[in-house]
Subunit: 344 residues, 3 copies
């Protein structure tokens, strides 16, 4: 049993973070080296020289064309992780190679597969198409979290906390008071949590970005695809508005809030967040407003979850939480994650 699900795809970075330059990020406890090759693809290999474990991302390591030269003794690797030069001898040991990680760039993310590469199937990577859809405008970021990834999963699966932790930003009384519907699709590996508020106060996050006045219909439809991808389909419209029978929904505003929840270590997490909207396309003022506000909201979560991690670190063993209806989605997520960890 592993502390994280193995044989799974995780978001390691935004594609925009990786240029023709050495880049490192730790995913599931494994430091990974990335660079974008001359042909535009992204490499992924252990960030640790096979010789004396020096990080290949650490100066004086450097990228020379599409080879990385270790800054300690000069072991040199190509973009596939194969060692092509060692100091003091011409023979290169057969075992001198870094096993590459399967890597896929999709929906603005760089996904890596942590586990046995033979089990990697790119078709199983969950999708977040809005982030690269020209019909949407997206703002995004990543905040480091000093808390285990499970605390972020808990947080995102139960949005009733918006009312308390994010009051004045995205929380209103109706979020906490409206019951949820939860559905678990074990085969597809999807947990769905829905909360439809038909007559709710409009929080500043949406009133200022959409221009809507007065009370609203506000729908929150969550889909979590453990372990990494979380999407919140947020629908905001005038009270009484509903999508049409043909699936179109011209009276409402739609925001796709996407999180990628990537364990860094057992007690730290990469908290990737993106907000894609189907209105005010390309409007930089709205983009700046949403980027700043969503980052503020994410940082409110970060502060709270970092506190919880410290509480866990000092509490007596066997401490038991109390759960209620709002936790149905979060508890389902914990069970699914626990099963994935057991198989690992």
């Amino acid at each position: 049993m592993s502390w994280f699900p193995r044989d799974q795809w995780y978001v390691a970075a935004y594609g925009s973070e990786i240029a023709h330059d050495l880049f490192t990020r730790t995913v599931c406890g494994e430091p990974i080296l990335f660079w974008r090759t001359r042909d535009g693809s992204v490499t992924a290999m252990p960030d640790r020289c096979v010789h004396r474990r020096f990080p290949l991302s650490q100066p004086s390591s450097r990228l020379v064309d599409d080879q990385v030269v270790c800054g300690y003794h000069g072991f040199t690797y190509d973009s596939g992780g194969k060692c092509v030069a060692v100091p003091g001898q011409t023979r290169i040991p057969r075992t001198a190679r870094l096993l590459p990680y399967p890597v896929v760039e999709q929906d603005s993310f760089v996904w890596v597969f942590v586990g046995d590469p033979a089990n990697a199937d790119a078709a199983q990577i969950p999708r977040a198409p809005w982030l690269v859809d020209p019909a949407y405008t997206t703002v995004c970021g990543m905040e480091p979290l000093d808390a285990r990834y499970g605390l972020l999963v808990d947080n995102l699966l139960d949005l009733s906390h918006e009312t308390y932790l994010h009051g004045g930003y995205i929380g209103t009384p109706e979020v906490a008071s409206t019951p949820i519907d939860t559905a678990v699709d074990e085969d597809a590996g999807v947990i769905s949590v829905s909360r439809h508020m038909d007559d709710a106060e409009c929080p500043p996050f949406y009133s200022k970005s959409t221009g809507l006045q007065g009370r609203i219909a506000r729908w929150q439809d969550i889909e979590y695809m453990p372990p990494c991808l979380y999407t919140l389909h947020s629908r905001i419209g005038p009270v009484g508005s509903v999508p049409r029978a043909d699936g179109t929904d011209p009276d409402a505003f739609h925001v796709e809030v996407v999180y990628a929840i990537t364990p860094e270590t057992e007690t730290t997490t990469h908290d990737f967040w993106a907000v894609a909207r189907d209105f005010a396309l390309g409007d930089e003022e709205v983009s700046a407003f949403l980027a700043e506000n969503n980052r503020t909201v994410v940082l409110q979560d970060v502060v709270a979850l970092n506190v919880l991690e410290k509480v866990i670190a000092t509490e007596p063993e066997g401490y038991q939480e109390l759960s209620i209806n709002i936790d149905t989605g979060g508890l389902a997520a914990r069970r699914m994650l626990a099963r994935l960890c057991e198989k690992s």
Copy 2:
């Protein structure tokens, strides 16, 4: 066996620290939430929401009248720890409650009982009446100590260290050179250590506050009531002066030095100190002098004990100290504390 005595009263705060506001302090490893209710009494309950363990003292948690609302999901508790509201449902789970700590406000301190509340007997709280007696003027403070509470007990039971660590403040050669008398009352749970110096140098701490010139009679009579309360009855008078047969002692100055030694964690301690005098009553200059000087002396101890805690952390297992006559009181205190821990 516990690392601290359970089923005991501990000083958590001065009453003056707690207003109608959320206040938290960790006692014996347990984070405790306090506030002063509208009716003036002090509450004490675990500082951890039963739902997802969010600290109730942590913003955006807040006090609304005499209820505390959790800043994460809005669980709401009354001053007795009973949960009175949860989000998304009207039914409140029967087990949703925080078990209050027995709490008593006495002699300027807020005492809490750590252990099984059924065993709490307020009559067993040791007294320090001088701190609220109009016949005395008191200065006080609290310093955080990064050392286990036992090191502070050792320190206070053996005042020979005044000569070395507090030279120029309260130490003179006679303190270290004068033998002590020790008495242990197992039934009452009191350890007494006395040192009567009949012809001693007067340290600045007493010469400046009393105005005494030349050599003095200086008596130190310690009573330690494990685990928490320590009192030093300090008598300073002209050489040759003694109390009268009727118990009055008009020729001497009396200072009651009170410490409350409260474990915060296994290796940190709340070091409460108070100095009550029966002379220069209300004299603010004397109060300021004694407050500043006693705090300096306490901080000299803090520096030394923090160093000892680091020494212990790195020393080999089974390291043995060497004890001599001056340690009789400290060793008796260790034995009494060890018995209290064994029962816990």
Copy 3:
């Protein structure tokens, strides 16, 4: 089995660091107190009072003539570690003494023997005579390293890293590309690694200090005497120059680079370095240049090794390195150190 070789001599300090003043340094996990006595010899005893473990180097501890008085309760020790005074009584317990460490001042270093003093044989201390030889001018220093001592041994036994980590200072392409000769003398406890570059680029470190122009003969002859002393006999001369049959070598410049590798704790090390040259004797400009440049080079190693220590702390158990020809000396050193640890 110990994490470091016991019953061995270690460099604790330069003699110049120790005056008639309390000085402390931790060697192999043991805090040691030093001072230079009135007669000029160096003491060495545990830096921990037998009474309540207060460090004797910590204020308000102080040196009075050739006795150290503990700053906590006044226990007083002579330069041989014998307790000569305790507070509150005239009888001094028989066991109140600090066991002195065997100590020898030699070749500018203060050596201490860590282990059973009965096994200490000063004749076994390895020599670095150049550091006090008037035919040489020496610059030296010590850098604290947040890495285990074995990483520094690895580093110094394989100088091919000069090409990469110290390029522009002492590294040139020839260092990494020239093969080495390794010899292990088990009886004498010496590992030798030689690299003779007969036609090499002259790095700034040597061109600026010697004035040599163009390409050079550059010889590196390492002798490592585990656990502590490492010497690099560096010979720089015109291409084609060789020592004469009588052992003299007037055409070349000689630099004796000496390291003392002293474990402080399991994961920290005292990195003593000295550079002795047989040219530009007494030339302060050359001394300043070599001191600054060698310190820069040492700090480049410190940064790299501190990174490696962090890598080791987080890597999975059982991680295997890959070794090649250049590692022959380092692997021999590891084997010899492992045997010394097993005996400990």
